[in-house]
């Protein structure tokens, strides 16, 4: 697959602060790239440089092999972290406004159906719930039938149910061969939606690849979680690695689950509430940076 979008050595300084410090990546057509990182990692600045909203200090962005220009603006759909729309406009009017700004246009009925906005069309956009608002903003990002869709933390602030629904929606959009670039600090979201993830910290990409590949590369173990209240042993005496920095759970890293469980049983640690889980992207971030993703 050829790269539809390429970022080369993007740098953005705000005074002495390097918000983005030499970021490069390629996105192939029809795939989903997730930029994963904590708040302040430079994800939003990176995508806003690519979108042409923020000028870069240096570096370049190529769209279909050429510097991103008017064609890119026609063919990109963008959902910012927060966007206030005009006051007093209904959902239908907001959609119509943005629809008329493009030469390339999707069928509005289809966009409305995909984003499940049929019942909200005549409502004032300020009276939507968080999830409804995000669906409207997604619909606005889709009115030009974009080839590339940018979603900047689209589910931040949504309840788990609304988040799930939104993910399903993005999957449906992706299935139409759209390229998606997503920033998020929910590793679950990145895992669910992205073909490739790039983990960012302090303005740099510190790891990149498919979620499975990244996890396989960095981990061979699994985690045994024991509630802290059940774990009465002295950590120093445990013959397995006990992970630092976890709050409510004691986490034991092991490649030998049977041996670990046998040890815990013999030490009279209750097993009713233990959980065995594979390594996830959250662990990977912690491993790479020594910090938690949502810290």
């Amino acid at each position: 697959m050829p790269a539809i979008l390429e970022a080369r050595q993007l740098v953005k300084h705000y005074g002495a602060v390097k918000a983005v410090d030499g970021v490069s990546f390629q996105v192939s057509e029809g795939s989903c790239l997730g930029l994963l990182g904590p708040n302040g990692a430079g994800k939003t600045t990176t995508v806003e440089i690519i979108e042409g909203i923020t000028p870069a200090t240096s570096g370049e962005v190529l769209y279909r092999g050429a510097p991103a220009g008017l064609r890119f603006r026609e063919e990109a759909g963008i959902q910012f972290q927060k966007t206030a729309l005009q006051e007093f406009l209904t959902v239908r009017e907001c959609l119509a406004l943005f629809h008329s700004l493009y030469t390339r246009r999707a069928s509005l009925d289809e966009v409305i159906e995909v984003c499940a906005l049929e019942k909200l069309l005549d409502r004032d956009n300020r009276k939507l719930s968080g999830g409804q608002q995000q669906r409207l903003l997604l619909a606005i990002a889709l009115v030009n039938d974009p080839a590339v869709l940018f979603l900047d933390e689209p589910t931040t602030g949504l309840d788990p149910q609304a988040r799930r629904n939104f993910w399903e929606l993005i999957r449906a959009v992706k299935a139409r061969n759209k390229t998606v670039i997503l920033t998020t600090h929910y590793m679950e979201e990145a895992y669910f939606l992205c073909d490739t993830i790039a983990i960012m910290d302090h303005g740099r990409i510190i790891a990149e690849g498919s979620p499975e590949k990244l996890l396989k590369e960095h981990f061979e173990d699994v985690i045994v979680e024991v509630p802290r209240s059940d774990f009465h042993l002295d950590r120093a005496g445990v013959p397995f690695q006990v992970l630092e920095g976890r709050e409510e759970q004691v986490e034991i890293s092991t490649a030998n689950v049977e041996g670990t469980l046998r040890y815990l049983m013999e030490a009279h640690v209750p097993l009713q509430r233990i959980r065995i889980r594979p390594r996830n992207l959250e662990d990977l971030f912690l491993e790479l940076t020594g910090r938690e993703l949502r810290a």
Partner: protein
Amino acid sequence: MRRLFAVMHARNLEFLRDRATLAWNIFLPVALVVALAIIFGGSERPLFKVGVLHAGKTIETRAHPFLGTHYVEFVSARDEADAVRKVARHQVDLLLDVRDTPARYWVNTDSPKGYIVEKLLLESNQAAANAPALVREPVTGEAVRYVDWLLPGILGMNIMFSCLFGVGWVVVRYRKSGFLKRLRATPLRAIEFIAAQVLSRLLLILLVTVFVFVGLRAILDFPLEGSGVLLFLVALLGAIALIAIGLFVAARFTSEELASGMLNVITWPMMLLSGVWFSLEGSADWVRWLAQLFPLTQMLDASRAIMLDGAGFLDVAPQLAALAFTATLFLVLGAMFFKWRVE
């Protein structure tokens, strides 16, 4: 063009649905004009007022025996044509010219007070030692009420506030809320966005103004001596100039408070010095000079000339040119400095 009209349409809807603001735009000028008409309607000047065209810096009582009359206010007049117009409008009861002999005087034959003051003048003239010759110049014309003079001021002020705040403040709000940034991510160009804002506000404020003008005319029966079309042209150019200033102020700011402060700094001097409430004829030269810089002054001077004196296109051409210049200057500056987003 489709993009421009889409943005303009959206802005129109936003304005029209904001009922409170719309009502305010209509209610404020009507309430002010009606209230002031009631307050000032019954009050008459307690004295007779006579304009005097004279040589020298001050009025010399010796120049004519009439000038010693008690209970008559004598005011200096400089410009003859202007002074005669005041007689026609009943703003002075009589005008006396003592620069030459024989002395001349102008009196409005429609004015009851003029009739009495003329009697006083002739009597004092007869009583004088040699009864100097007097030339009578009759003038006609209806009285101009304060409310007739005030009305263009109030409508102009309403246009000013609506244009400056309705564009300046709103664009800053759009920028702060991120709406401009969202538009930036579309193929919409800055000039299309700006043009849409100008056209939307222009359309709405002119509709409101015409509506209020026609409505008040039915209630107050104020004069419109000149062309209504020309008056509309003055309002149009004036509104464009004021919107352009609003856009210039809004070009960069991201704080509504700061923008609002700036807009106040611009509107208040215009409110006070552009002659909304009272004429600046008696004020210092520098004040009048400063006032000439304000588009509101140009707008009010031109519209009063059209409404009260029946001025034609050539008479108000200087004001129209000044408004066109202000509009062009600030539109260009506004477009040059325009920024979509918060840095």
